[in-house]
Amino acid sequence: MSRAVQNLGGARAREIAARALAAVPLNYAVTAALTMLIARLLPGGGAQASIGATMLSFAIFAGLAMTAFAVRSVAKLWIGLVVAGLVAGAADWLLIAAGGRL
């Protein structure tokens, strides 16, 4: 019985680690890509758009961090975040390549 409990503990530790990795480093990368996208899309000139997007980034990060511990499936969590990050990152790259920077 004690071994079963230990195995359960190991699985739980692995699950927490997977969620924590999604909630902090992966979340930061995804938030950075989304912040860049918002900064490209907001109106009012480069400086205003950059400041506005930067202020929003903390709400995005906090929301994603909570989501990482709230959703049931760790696999779906990772897939969702990675896809969102890749899509936003590709859009950032395209927008900068097409429109240039100041």
């Binding site: 927490i16 912040t35 996208l37 400041i51 506005g52 997007a53």
Partner: protein, 520 residues
Amino acid sequence: MKGCFRQSMAWLHTWTGLLLGWLLFAIFVTGTSAYFQEEITRWMTPEVRSVPSDPASGFVAATEWLKREAPGGSEWSIYSTGKRAAGLQLYWVNGPDAPADAPTSARLDGTGTKVFARETLGGWFLYRFHYDLHYINWYWARWLVGIAAMAMLVAILSGIVTHKKILTDFFLLRLGKGQRSWLDAHNASSVLFLPFILMITYTGLVSLATHYMPWGIAANYANQGKFFEAAFPWPVPAEKAGPAPLAPIGPIVERAERMWGTAAGSVRILNPGDRTARVIVSGAPDAGMSVRLRSMTFDGVTGRPVDAHDPSGAATATEGTMIGLHAGRFASPLLRTLYFMSGLAGCVMVASGLILWTVKRRAKLPDPDRPHFGFRLVEKLNIAAIAGLPFGMAAYFLANRLLPLGIAGRSEREIDTMFIAWGAVAIWALARPARRAWPEALSATALAFASVPLVNALTTDRSLAASLAAGDSLFAMFDAVMLVLAAGFGWAALKVARRRDREAASRGSPMRAIAGAEAA
């Protein structure tokens, strides 16, 4: 993950809160003190008595002083932190003829006379510690503080989700009931002050936003320098072109103030006494909510306006106002006091949350007399943080009065004293059983705070009695706050000591009974 959404959020709240709680406590305590930064500095420089009644004439007097003391400089800056500060702060860049060790800063009173005060960083040090910490590189310190702030934001949001009865907890405080009381204290301080705590955490992150999230800038600018030039222009001196007299500063400052309808807060003079001279007047930091100040640039020879900067873009205004809300420089004395009280509630929220972690788990320990390592570590770090930092701050104030005035690096010694005292409490907490260390550390903190007004009375002529007689509300309030803090920590020490005795008595008898039974 552990079944339902609310449970997983409760788990997240507990562990993010614990992991960064000690750092958050230090950030909250020093940040709360920073609302009275100028007042602390004035208490820590008891030699300074006069405060400028009219900053505009102060700028003129300071310019005359700089003409005498820093001729040939390429840049003079004169700052007034507003009505609360003692005098004006001057910085300048010396010309090429000045010796390398020539001074580059001074503090003047309102009449333009140099102030001779003890060397101290005063309330400014506590303010800087709030986000730059000390002894470690500021760049990484800000990251640590930012991680703690983000953990706090997540802890608050998950705490809200975890909560079933927000409204009841407004009015619920059951005292003297062990774990239930700690939970009530934690809930009452966080729910009642929730708007403040949520605001202060988010705006704190926004204050250092580009440090944590530079990617919004990277999306639109090839380098950060270009962004800062566009968003927050900072003119630099031009190549010098030959001498010309500096236009009178008084009318220039008046013109800017008339234009804005509010007071000026600083004057920067580039290339004074040269044909390329520029005078840049900026608004006072306490004249509005936004920290992004308006400025007007004048030709330094003719005195005519040549440029104006008004940070009124939607995002800049929002950002500046958010940082302004955080720093509270605009606040009147009453609002400032409310800020201070809300900050204290934040300290209580973090401290009671940390204590709740141990109280909740103590009951479930297999053997409450011999807790496991993790439990003991949390318990001892709680003592080191919650009693240790306030003790260190009291020691900082005492060092300000007791260290000899002439010693080299005096301001740094004051700071060292704070950390040595803080470290001493930490070592004490590690060495002693937690049950004894709690009341001991809390009583030491109470005694340290109580001795501040006493030592002040013995070492200066501005004792509490003298301040009250002279109607000096600032000095009287500072001493009074020290006594209130002493009373608060003394009360806490008494409560903890009584509980310890009660618990020892209630546990003592069955233990003895068992021991007796075994012997028989």
